[in-house]
């Protein structure tokens, strides 16, 4: 019988929920360094998805590694079965729609499957200039699933209409996707409150599950676009004891994942703590 953990953080819950999106055999692309997503993929690889292929930086099919704030790139590189350029990635994974998951984050997202990583306000004279989308605007269409994770579910993020459409899923329904040469799959957002999904162009996002202690009203209130609220919404499956143990002891003993959840002013201090631990680990502290 599955033994669920009683003590876990919302970050751990999101991480495990994202890990559960990885099916065995999937091809998973790790984009920019985001500890929560990296931890998810590594957790999936060492548990239920040993035949998944992970790609990060130039490293293809790297051995799962212990996460660290500084060493993700060298870990992936040193454990790689193959070293690729970005163009080889494109030619083998992205363009063909062979990727299954590359979880993205975004400054804004709306109910149409649009994301905005470009600008808040006017594009040409923005209040906030975002980082840009890198490959996200394209791969969210090409990959089997479009998965996003949002540590701060709010109307600031989930807006009626994004200020700038950096990218969009574009082909959404299963039939439409197959016709366009892509595998069908949902848009799914994992947040600190719930899991919401969209599977048809003309239907709104729907609440799939609510995290323990969260009400549907709370989710609706914090979402700036229409949500379908089914009658009986299940609770988001909790992390198992083993998953929490693995995350804390094996995958992320430095606690890098928690970084994403620290308020702005605590971040620097927390980062210094992590770095100190990394120095200690190599005897240089």
């Amino acid at each position: 019988m599955t033994q669920y953990a009683k003590d876990y953080s919302v970050g751990e819950l999101m991480c495990v929920t994202l890990a559960r999106e990885i099916d065995d055999g999937d091809v998973v692309v790790l984009g920019s360094f985001t500890p929560l997503a990296y931890a998810s993929y590594i957790l999936a690889k060492i548990t239920h998805a040993p035949n998944s292929t992970l790609l990060a930086y130039a490293a293809v099919d790297f051995k799962p590694f212990q996460l660290s704030f500084i060493r993700a790139e060298s870990s992936a590189t040193r454990g790689a079965a193959c070293i690729w350029t970005m163009l080889e990635d494109l030619n083998s994974v992205h363009l063909k729609g062979r990727g299954d998951v590359e979880a993205i984050s975004s400054i804004q997202a709306d109910g149409y499957g649009n994301i905005n990583l470009s600008a808040v306000g006017e594009y040409d004279s923005p209040k906030l200039r975002g980082p840009g989308g890198a490959g996200a605007p394209e791969v969210i269409k090409m990959h089997r699933k479009m998965i996003g994770y949002f540590p701060n579910h709010s109307k600031m993020t989930f807006v009626p209409k994004v200020d700038v459409i950096t990218g969009t899923r574009y082909v959404i329904g299963a039939e439409e996707r197959i016709k366009a040469g892509y595998r069908p799959g949902p848009i799914r957002y994992i947040t600190n409150l719930a899991v919401i999904s969209k599977e048809e162009k003309d239907k709104p996002f729907k609440i799939d599950s609510l995290h323990s202690g969260v009400s549907a009203e709370q989710v609706v209130e914090n979402t700036g676009f229409e949500l379908e609220v089914p009658k009986d919404i299940p609770e988001t499956e909790k992390p198992t004891k083993e998953q929490v143990r693995l995350l804390r002891e094996e995958v992320d003993p430095y606690g890098t994942m928690a970084f994403d959840f620290k308020p702005g002013k605590e971040r620097l201090g927390y980062l210094n703590e992590i770095l100190q631990k990394e120095l200690e680990a190599i005897g240089y502290a």
């Binding site: 920019s32 360094f33 985001t34 590594i42 060492i46 930086y57 130039a58 051995k63 799962p64 590694f65 212990q66 660290s68 500084i70 060493r71 790139e73 060298s74 870990s75 992936a76 590189t77 040193r78 070293i83 690729w84 350029t85 970005m86 163009l87 494109l90 992205h94 363009l95 649009n114 470009s118 594009y123 004279s125 923005p126 209040k127 906030l128 200039r129 980082p131 840009g132 989308g133 890198a134 490959g135 996200a136 605007p137 394209e138 791969v139 269409k141 700038v164 459409i165 950096t166 990218g167 969009t168 574009y170 366009a180 094996e250 980062l271 770095l275 990394e278 680990a281 190599i282 240089y284």
Partner: protein, 298 residues
């Protein structure tokens, strides 16, 4: 007859990079940016450059902060977990730096097109993205002449110069990259002139011991510069990690133009080996290299 050597000094970059050039900058995220060459561009006060980056970070932010750019083409610029890129934000939000934001695959495919001498390449591109609408000079909707399918044509990108940082090269310019190559190979193929800085220059025999590692052959390289720790404060995987302590210092300095000018004076406007001493010298190098080796597999 002996072969000619392409080995040069950092100060020689101005023989290739000129005011007003379009410069493609290799590396990606916080990895393998050609930082020694970028610092040299600032030292030599080369100006009015258009920078091209796919996934940029401190490389682009530093050039912007130092006033070297008159335009920027990018798909992503961020200091990753350290936050948004301060000079990049300020330049766009407050100072009106002209820019072309192009989706990541379109930049890569555009460079690929430039490298293979075609004015465009088609793909199932970012239909519905505002970026396509905003920059029609880089995107056109077309139809497949065989099937009639809708596709997006990405325009070719041909930089004047590509600059990359790599693991090693020989004096004829055969370049090996052991780790993150980003779009280095595509930039070198597309550009008219190419500069590579490397951790070490090795013999042609050493290169031939493992030809599979050679990502760029000599005929695609015009200048080779030895610059140990030349990606600092970025990483050069798997040899050394990025320097989070220095990057935090940078982020602090970049909060205002005034403090940033102090950073430039203190770190950049001195010979490269003095920069390496300023950031911690041999001990810091040892830490960054050791961290890169001490990885744990599960």
């Amino acid at each position: 007859m002996p072969t000619e050597s392409k080995v040069a000094k950092l100060s020689d970059i101005s023989k290739i990079i000129k005011d007003g050039d379009t410069v493609a900058i290799g590396g990606s995220w916080l990895g393998s940016h050609p930082m020694a060459v970028i610092r040299e561009i600032i030292r030599q006060k080369i100006k009015n450059l258009t920078a091209i980056t796919v996934v940029g970070s401190i490389d682009v932010d530093l050039l912007i902060g130092a006033g070297c750019l008159s335009r920027l083409m990018f798909s992503f610029v961020s200091m990753e977990a350290f936050g948004l890129a301060p000079n990049f934000r300020r330049a766009i939000e407050k100072e009106g730096l002209p820019y072309d934001e192009i989706t990541g695959l379109a930049v890569i495919i555009g460079l690929e097109a430039g490298g293979r001498n075609v004015p465009f390449l088609p793909y199932r591109g970012p239909f519905g993205s505002d970026l396509v609408k905003f920059r029609p000079e880089f995107y056109k909707e077309i139809k497949c002449p065989f099937t009639g399918e809708d596709l997006i044509a990405a325009a070719a990108i041909v930089p004047d110069v590509a600059i990359i940082h790599a693991t090693r090269a020989d004096n004829t310019g055969n370049v090996q990259i052991d780790g993150t190559s980003g779009t280095d190979v595509e930039m070198m193929r597309a550009a008219k002139k190419r500069i590579v800085s490397v951790e070490e220059i090795v013999s042609p025999e050493e290169i031939r011991r493992n030809p599979a590692k050679t990502k760029i052959p000599g005929f695609q390289v015009d200048m080779v510069i030895e610059a140990p720790l030349g990606a600092h404060p970025c990483s050069c995987a798997p040899d050394y990690v990025f320097d989070p302590w220095h990057i935090m210092k940078y982020m602090q300095a970049a909060m205002s133009p005034e403090t940033f000018q102090q950073y430039i004076d203190e770190y950049v406007m001195k010979p490269e080996f003095e920069y390496l001493e300023a950031i911690g010298g041999m001990k810091q190098a040892a830490i960054l290299r050791r961290l890169a080796r001490e990885v744990k597999f599960l």
